[in-house]
Symmetry: D2
Subunit: 371 residues, 4 copies
Amino acid sequence: MKNTFGTAISVTIFGESHGAAVGAVVDGLAAGIPINRKYIAEQMSRRKAKSDGLSTTRIEADSVEFVSGVYNDHTTGTAITLLIHNRNTRSNDYAKMADLLRPGHADLTAYAKYGGWQDARGGGHFSGRITAAVVAAGALCRSVLQAKGVEIATHLRKCGGVEDLPFAQQEKEMLQQQQMLNKMDFAIISETAGQAMQQAIRQAGREGDSVGGVLETAVTGIDAGLGEPFFESVESVLAQLMFSIPAVKGIEFGEGFGFADLQGSTANDPFRMQGDTVVTATNRNGGINGGITNGMPIVFRTVVKPTPSIYKEQQTVDYTNKQDAVLQIHGRHDPCILPRARAVQDAMCAIGLLDLYTQRFGTLWHTQEGK
Amino acid sequence: MKNTFGTAISVTIFGESHGAAVGAVVDGLAAGIPINRKYIAEQMSRRKAKSDGLSTTRIEADSVEFVSGVYNDHTTGTAITLLIHNRNTRSNDYAKMADLLRPGHADLTAYAKYGGWQDARGGGHFSGRITAAVVAAGALCRSVLQAKGVEIATHLRKCGGVEDLPFAQQEKEMLQQQQMLNKMDFAIISETAGQAMQQAIRQAGREGDSVGGVLETAVTGIDAGLGEPFFESVESVLAQLMFSIPAVKGIEFGEGFGFADLQGSTANDPFRMQGDTVVTATNRNGGINGGITNGMPIVFRTVVKPTPSIYKEQQTVDYTNKQDAVLQIHGRHDPCILPRARAVQDAMCAIGLLDLYTQRFGTLWHTQEGK
Amino acid sequence: MKNTFGTAISVTIFGESHGAAVGAVVDGLAAGIPINRKYIAEQMSRRKAKSDGLSTTRIEADSVEFVSGVYNDHTTGTAITLLIHNRNTRSNDYAKMADLLRPGHADLTAYAKYGGWQDARGGGHFSGRITAAVVAAGALCRSVLQAKGVEIATHLRKCGGVEDLPFAQQEKEMLQQQQMLNKMDFAIISETAGQAMQQAIRQAGREGDSVGGVLETAVTGIDAGLGEPFFESVESVLAQLMFSIPAVKGIEFGEGFGFADLQGSTANDPFRMQGDTVVTATNRNGGINGGITNGMPIVFRTVVKPTPSIYKEQQTVDYTNKQDAVLQIHGRHDPCILPRARAVQDAMCAIGLLDLYTQRFGTLWHTQEGK
Amino acid sequence: MKNTFGTAISVTIFGESHGAAVGAVVDGLAAGIPINRKYIAEQMSRRKAKSDGLSTTRIEADSVEFVSGVYNDHTTGTAITLLIHNRNTRSNDYAKMADLLRPGHADLTAYAKYGGWQDARGGGHFSGRITAAVVAAGALCRSVLQAKGVEIATHLRKCGGVEDLPFAQQEKEMLQQQQMLNKMDFAIISETAGQAMQQAIRQAGREGDSVGGVLETAVTGIDAGLGEPFFESVESVLAQLMFSIPAVKGIEFGEGFGFADLQGSTANDPFRMQGDTVVTATNRNGGINGGITNGMPIVFRTVVKPTPSIYKEQQTVDYTNKQDAVLQIHGRHDPCILPRARAVQDAMCAIGLLDLYTQRFGTLWHTQEGK
């Protein structure tokens, strides 16, 4: 279904950048899960623009309103609908350039698909704004996973030409990194790399340009046996979700594209006993074999293209008059969306994994406390 | 659903490597589509092992039996079930090593998921053998697309350390390359690169090792307006399918991971008028903006890890006795699966695109001839 | 999916009786469909309680707010989210009897399913209040169907022991009846029967009791060839939807349960030529053969049980204290919900049929006007 | 999806009456469920025609071949594909009347949907023959339910004008009736009624006619809390499945259409304590409140129309020549399909309930024995 993901847990997202609200319906959560508003606000805050020169100056309150499925601060077991109202919109910025297709954006494809009926203001349904709803929905799923000991964290592995350190090999050390990252606004492992990245982003911003990068996610505490051999492989499920994040154009698991240059003898992860448990000595497969979790941490990376909205002059066409034109974008935009997209990646990951867990263990597995 | 893909067109796959048959149910095709057995056999042949030292010596006839949905060599409009019988199986090769988990394979995850009840012979349901059914199902979908002018082709962009040329930039030239590739057993654009690749594969085979690589797919003649902004983005749909191919560990569209090092000003594809049509001057986004086709060719690459089955000795564990062990794999295996996986990638691509077309234009769009 | 219906058109409903709002997400409608607010208000009005002694005295404004997917009074092609706010709630009425399970209601099953976390106020998610969202969603679907000449109408075939006339046999006459019914608040064919019914309902209300009945729906102008032979038979699709209406406990198509007493020779509808078209001389199969529409009007009936909320004293149990008890229900309730449920039945029917049409003809079939 | 049912458990059916085979893919069953071939053969046998004058003289061996998902007589956890080969086909009987539409059948709708490409032999995909695959799939699901104490049984409540006794009120006595019925070929509670029914069926057969009737199903040992308030209400799920049985034209739960003549005070089931358990003193709601099981037995009835294939002369049209005609059907047909349809109803019920159980308790709930 077009705007719905999932089998046991389903998430339906909706909204336009300059409409009344963006939101989501989260269906399939068990009753009795506590709604921790502080926790949700923290997740939302990570996705929010900051007035630090790294992101757009459109800053929304992003408070999450629960319209259904929540009562006395707990889930009721019915479909949860959440809304995040749009308040700080400046549609005029967009009106001026309605006819000029913005390169790298969905302006042309919106015409192809919707024939001119789309709400083009602020990118409409294609706007990154919709991911606010994903983060809120993800926060609900993530709280269930965390109660079961599953931790998710994402850092900027590469940005503006600067590389961060990779995650540690050992799960224990990786978990410490995750906990650290989950407290940071600008999530990096190496402080030095982080400073260089921020400098590169600000520099691009000053030039009216933008930068892309790579986000790396690790999941620890994951059970073995989740996922399916084919269409619901863990890679298939996570990839479907990650490519729902605007600007993501690639994903790789474990060694990823590095596998192209390995041989079987260097690519395979040897099995070893660790007490009574079978582990792999290395984790080149990113915790997934045959589409199914093997109990080692899941590790994957996505590539996020540079924000297409830049202030530099660009060649384009005037769609209505069907002629070549020059575009100068105004409005408020991020010179780099990775610091914010990272929260969305975490959220998408939580949604996908909770669906797989629920398929295997049932809805009742969610239950956190009795009544 | 676990073994089912699709919304308007659905494909359900089943089978085990050494069971009676592998197969698929293809549901949603219109009535009256001609079943061209020669065409299907050609597609199947591309996935088949050849006795050329590049692939396993297990060679199957792979003739496709239609059990339902086909009558008088045309589709009837009902669910099409196709079977490919397994004949040339040597289960003894596997019996000897039943307890020793093969590194890089799904042996451990099969235990985690199925608790020992899996049919482990030849990899069971995790075997690449199941992809024979995908190729047959894909052939049906592909024939509908081709009748509409949509062409798909895949080549080995990289293998055993050797790089092939990329696809041409111009759609016309790209189409010629596709037509050439679709006649080749070992699909490469540069003949020289092809020879070097084959040498590298044979060398790895001689060393009892295996190599990985990158497959690149191009789709020409595609309509603008297919796909959805989020969970059914063209990237999401194709990625879900490609990660259903055993050994695929990454996918990227257009510039892919190269976007990490670009800036907005170099990453965006400028729009230009070409007669009355809006095109992009470059195609760094691989034909997709905002999850939706923009009318330019779709271009994507997957990374295929080296075949995990190698003859070299490997460290592993004895699962039953829970102790470290050494594994020496026998049986018949490919030193490189890219030449064959390429047919599966084409097929998966056809299935995904026909689903998107059918959602937009309905089942009747398939119709090719009257009765 | 739990709260989502449909394949090509999907409708997700949510909300609790005394929560902030009830609503729906309608996904899959093409762009450019006009949103006729007067038309929607009319449909909503039919479901609304009236101050006529036939229904509850809780009267809601029921104005429909579009949160997404609508722009400039047309659909944008993206997911449409609509909200109907709950304003006129008196939760105190319910608080008093929280522990006493209401016979015929979902109070016990809510405990079984949600373990006490349910929002029990006003029946929570089980309330007929949620059907306001169904009517709004149905209005959107219905407007597309009507533009294509498909007409839907429902009347009270039986209520409080009084029978209305059945629909006419001839489609032309049936269409006139539909148009008449679609203007009525209390939808009956025979005025005399209608008066007797209203009398019976008022009488039951005065006695603190309630009545059930039968709703009959006819669909004219329907294309032949919709539906599938098995799990998506037209009967399967409509039945799934009708049983989503609280209080519906049975459905029958054409002769329905009357078939039990017929023989093949009296049950079969003979085919006849009518000009160049094949028609059936009778329509005992209610327009459906083998699960697929045959072009004759679809005719079906549902049975609606008497409103379980009555003022008469009832035997029940105190759930918390686990002991037998006596219940005296207060609050505002309908002595008969058929006059209002009829609007829901129309809406559900429109949703199901638009899904089947869209599967066959694609999304673009919706298009009503160019831009 | 067209030929696929289910969320956690999915069943895809395929096949044509005179094709190579009919069959099903059952996906979502846990690994390690024993395949009891004797048990499956018994279920298949109930659906089979008998040479007793009550059913068609086309008698198939109906042995079930497992093509995938079964190994060492246990499920492997992967998709199970089963085939039932068609052997005893006499297509000539049908060839003679290809152009004459059979009243009450899907001949016209097949043309409308498939445009003449359908495999019309023996009714093709519309044939009751496909239900052999449903019974086999249902047997797998039923064995899981029975291991959990859930019993399903169906009897001919009404047939050829004769009524059988209803199920007993008390669950204990009902279970005894179920166990008795599940051993009978002609499933009735009252022996006298059974004899009269068989006489009526034979009489209709002798007259070249056929009879319809009502099938009544009871489910005992069912857990409370299954199903959802709306689109996946237990009634919705079971109705979708029952209307997938050819010839079923109505379904009702508990009092069903009898509710139309009741009042709230006589329709509601009073709650009572039975030890520590809340039960209902009566079961007029058929074990379901608000779409969710309440722990009381599920009771429902379907109406099965008289077999449309009769030997009596009928009025029809010649589809090719578009003119009125007279039809005399030959071939082999049941004067009454209820004795056989009852096995299909049991199977559909098992499929639906296992899906609901699995959604709630997860796949692992299936597990019956360790390995």
